[in-house]
C-alpha cells in the first residue's frame, strides 16, 4: 500500500492488459482441440450433407454435384414420406410421454432419498446406460421374441403365443427403455433442487398432498420435464437402431428410411434432404427448450442455467453411448 511514485500505476494498467491477453490465449488453447475435432468430424460432414441435398441423382443412381435444385425437398412432400415422418413424430411423442410417466415418479423417488442412498441409486440408473446399446436392444428382442420368456409366460397362462416383436409396440417399449435415463436425469436434477419447504407451505395453506404437487412441485420442476422431453424426443424421432431391430419392415421410421436412401436406393440427395430436415427439427426443439427455460419462471435464473448445464451433461453422455 506504499505510494511508490507513478510506476505502480503505469505497470498496473499494462499488467492488467497483459493479464487479459494471457486469459484470452488460455481460452483459445483450452477450446481449440475440441473445436478442431468438431470442425472436422461434425461441421464438415454437415456441410457436405447440406450440399448433397441440393444435388441431382442421375439415372444410374450416382450423385451428380451439378445442376443444383430443390427436387429432393419437393420429394419430401410425397405422401409415403410424409406418412413416415408422421409415424416417426407420433412414436417419438409417445416415447416422450411414456418416459415422463415412468420417469417422473422414479426421479421423485430418487430425489427424496437420503443423500447416500441417492448416490447408489443413481449409479444403478446409469448402469444400463453404460452397457452397449446394441446388446441391450438384442436383449429386448430376445425377451419379446416368440421363443422368449414373455411368450413362454403367456403360453403357460394359456394366452397363446406372444406376438409383439416387429410391431410398433415393441419399438415403443425399446425406445422408452433406451431413452428413459435421458428423462430421469434432468428430472432428478430439477427435483433434487426443489425447495421442499414450498410444498410444506402449500400444505400449510390448506392444499392436499396432491394439490400441493400439481400447484407447486410440478410447475417448479417444469424445466426438468422440458429438458428431458427434448433429450428424449430428438433422438427418438431420428432413431434408427431400435426400430430396425425391433420394428421390422412394417414400422418404417424416418431414421431407417434415411439409411435406406443412402444404402439401398442410392438416392443420396433425398437422404441428405431428410437429414437436413431432421437437424432443423432438432434445432427448433432445442430453441423452444431454451426459450421456455429462460421465460417460464421469473425466479431463479441461475438455477435454470444450472439445470440447462445438467441437461447438456446428459447429452454428452448420450453421444458417448451411441
Amino acid at each position: 500500500m506504499q505510494p511508490a511514485g507513478g510506476r505502480p500505476v503505469n505497470s498496473g494498467a499494462s499488467g492488467e492488459e497483459a493479464a487479459a491477453r494471457a486469459k484470452r490465449r488460455q481460452g483459445v488453447l483450452l477450446a481449440s482441440p475440441g473445436a478442431l475435432y468438431l470442425l472436422i468430424f461434425f461441421v464438415v460432414p454437415l456441410v457436405l450433407i447440406s450440399v448433397y441435398s441440393f444435388a441431382t441423382r442421375t439415372s444410374t443412381g450416382r450423385t451428380a454435384l451439378s445442376g443444383w435444385n430443390l427436387e429432393s425437398y419437393r420429394d419430401i412432400g410425397d405422401n409415403v414420406i410424409l406418412g413416415i415422418i408422421g409415424r416417426s413424430a407420433w412414436l417419438a411423442t409417445l416415447t416422450t410421454v411414456l418416459c415422463i410417466a415412468v420417469g417422473y415418479p422414479f426421479a421423485y423417488y430418487l430425489a427424496t432419498r437420503p443423500r447416500h442412498v441417492r448416490a447408489v441409486l443413481l449409479v444403478l440408473v446409469m448402469i444400463p446406460f453404460w452397457t452397449n446399446g446394441l446388446v441391450r436392444v438384442f436383449a429386448i428382442r430376445f425377451l419379446l421374441g416368440s421363443n422368449g420368456p414373455a411368450s413362454a409366460l403367456s403360453e403357460s397362462l394359456g394366452l397363446g403365443t406372444f406376438r409383439i416383436l416387429f410391431t410398433p409396440t415393441a419399438v415403443t417399449i425399446g425406445m422408452v427403455y433406451g431413452f428413459l435415463t435421458l428423462m430421469v436425469l434432468p428430472l432428478y436434477v430439477a427435483l433434487e433442487r426443489m425447495d421442499w419447504s414450498l410444498t410444506e407451505a402449500a400444505r400449510d395453506l390448506y392444499a392436499s398432498g396432491s394439490k400441493a404437487f400439481w400447484k407447486v412441485t410440478l410447475p417448479l420442476t417444469k424445466s426438468g420435464i422440458v429438458a428431458g422431453s427434448v433429450l428424449v424426443f430428438v433422438p427418438s424421432f431420428g432413431s434408427y437402431v431400435v426400430p430396425d431391430i425391433l420394428g421390422g419392415a412394417k414400422t418404417l421410421l424416418i431414421g431407417s428410411y434415411i439409411a435406406s436412401q443412402f444404402r439401398d436406393a442410392r438416392n443420396y440427395p433425398l437422404g441428405a434432404a431428410l437429414s437436413v430436415l431432421l437437424i432443423l427439427a432438432m434445432l427448433l426443439a432445442v430453441a423452444l427448450n431454451q426459450r421456455s427455460g429462460s421465460g417460464a419462471e421469473g425466479g431463479g435464473r441461475p438455477r435454470l442455467r444450472r439445470r440447462g448445464r445438467a441437461g447438456g451433461e446428459a447429452e454428452t453422455v448420450t453421444a458417448a453411448a451411441s
Binding site: D195, E200, R203, D204, L205, Y206, K211
Partner: protein
Amino acid sequence: MTESVAAVEIDGVTKRFDDVVAVDNVDLAIDDGEFFALLGPSGCGKTTTLRMIAGLDLPTEGSLRIFGDEVGMAPPDRRPVNTVFQAYALFPHMTVRQNIEFGLRMRRVRNPELGQRVAEAIGMVRLAGMEERRPDQLSGGQQQRVALARALVNQPKVLLLDEPLGALDLKLRQEMQQELKALQREVGITFVFVTHDQEEALAMSERIGVMSEGRLLQVGTPREIYERPASRFVADFIGRTNLIEASVESPTMVRLADGARIAAETSMPTGSQVAVSLRPERVRLQPRGTAAADGSSLDGEVCDITYLGHAVVYAVTVGSTSVEVRSEGEVGEPFAPGDEVTINWDHGAAAVVAD
C-alpha cells in the same frame, strides 16, 4: 387463563427422529391472543415444536390441542393455523397476489370475498402496488410481508412464525419487530414465534418458553425469565450474566467458596450447590470500603477495562472468579486496572439458580 380454552395446549409431547429425541416430554399452554416466543439455541427442539403445532411433523407421543380440538395427528391442511416460514417459502412461480390468494383458493373462497380479503391483507402489510410482482423482485422486508399476508389472509386461529426476522439485516429487523407487535395487537390472533435471538424474544413477546436439548426449561414473562431465571442455562442464555458458585446456607443466604455471603432468596435445601446470577448492568463499582457489608457486595480488584462508547465493561477479580461489571453513562476514568474495589448491587438483583 380462567375459563377460556388455551389457544395451543401441548400435553406431554415427545418427538423422536430415529434415535434422536428432538422434543422431550413438553407441556405448554399458550393463551388466546398471546404473543408467545419459543426461545433456544439451534437444535433445542423449538422449530420441531412449532412444526408439530403446524402439522408438518407429527408427535411421537403426547397430545396437542388447538382451542380444545385434538389435532396431534391431523394433516397440516386440516388445522386452523398458518405458518410464516423461515426463508418465507414464497412460491417463486406466482405473483404476490397469487401467493396471498393461495390458501383462500384451496378452501374455495370465491370472489367477491376472495378479492376483498386479499386486498385487505395487502393493505394490512402495506404492499399495495406490488400485487403483480414476483417474489424475487421484492426486497427481503417485502417478502417477509408477503409471507405474513399469505398466512393472515386465512384468518388462522394461531399464527406460527419460524425465525420470521432471521433473514433480515439488523435495522430492518428492529423495524419489523415493532411492526409485528403492532400487527399482532391489530389482528388479535395468537402468535407463536420461534427464535434463537433472546433480545428479539424479550422485546416482542408477552411470554417466553426457553428450550434446550428438547426440554422446555422455563416459561414466563420476559421480566421473570430475565430476572428470575430458573436454571443456570436460562440465566446464561438470556442476556449476559455472572454465575458465581455458591452453596445454600439458609433460605435467604448463600455462601461462596471463600466464605463471603450473599443475601438471596432460594427455595433450595440448605447445603445444595447453586450459582448466583448477577447481571453485569445491575452491579456497581465503588472504591474499596465505601459500601456497607450487607450481603449485597463483594470485594475485588479491577483486572481489565473495555471501553464500548456507551458503556464501560470492567472485569473484576473476586476471589477465584472474574465478575463482569457494566457501567453506563460514566464520566472520566474513575478506575484503573489494579484498583481495589467493592462491587455492590441492589438487594434482590442476585438470583439463585439451580443447575
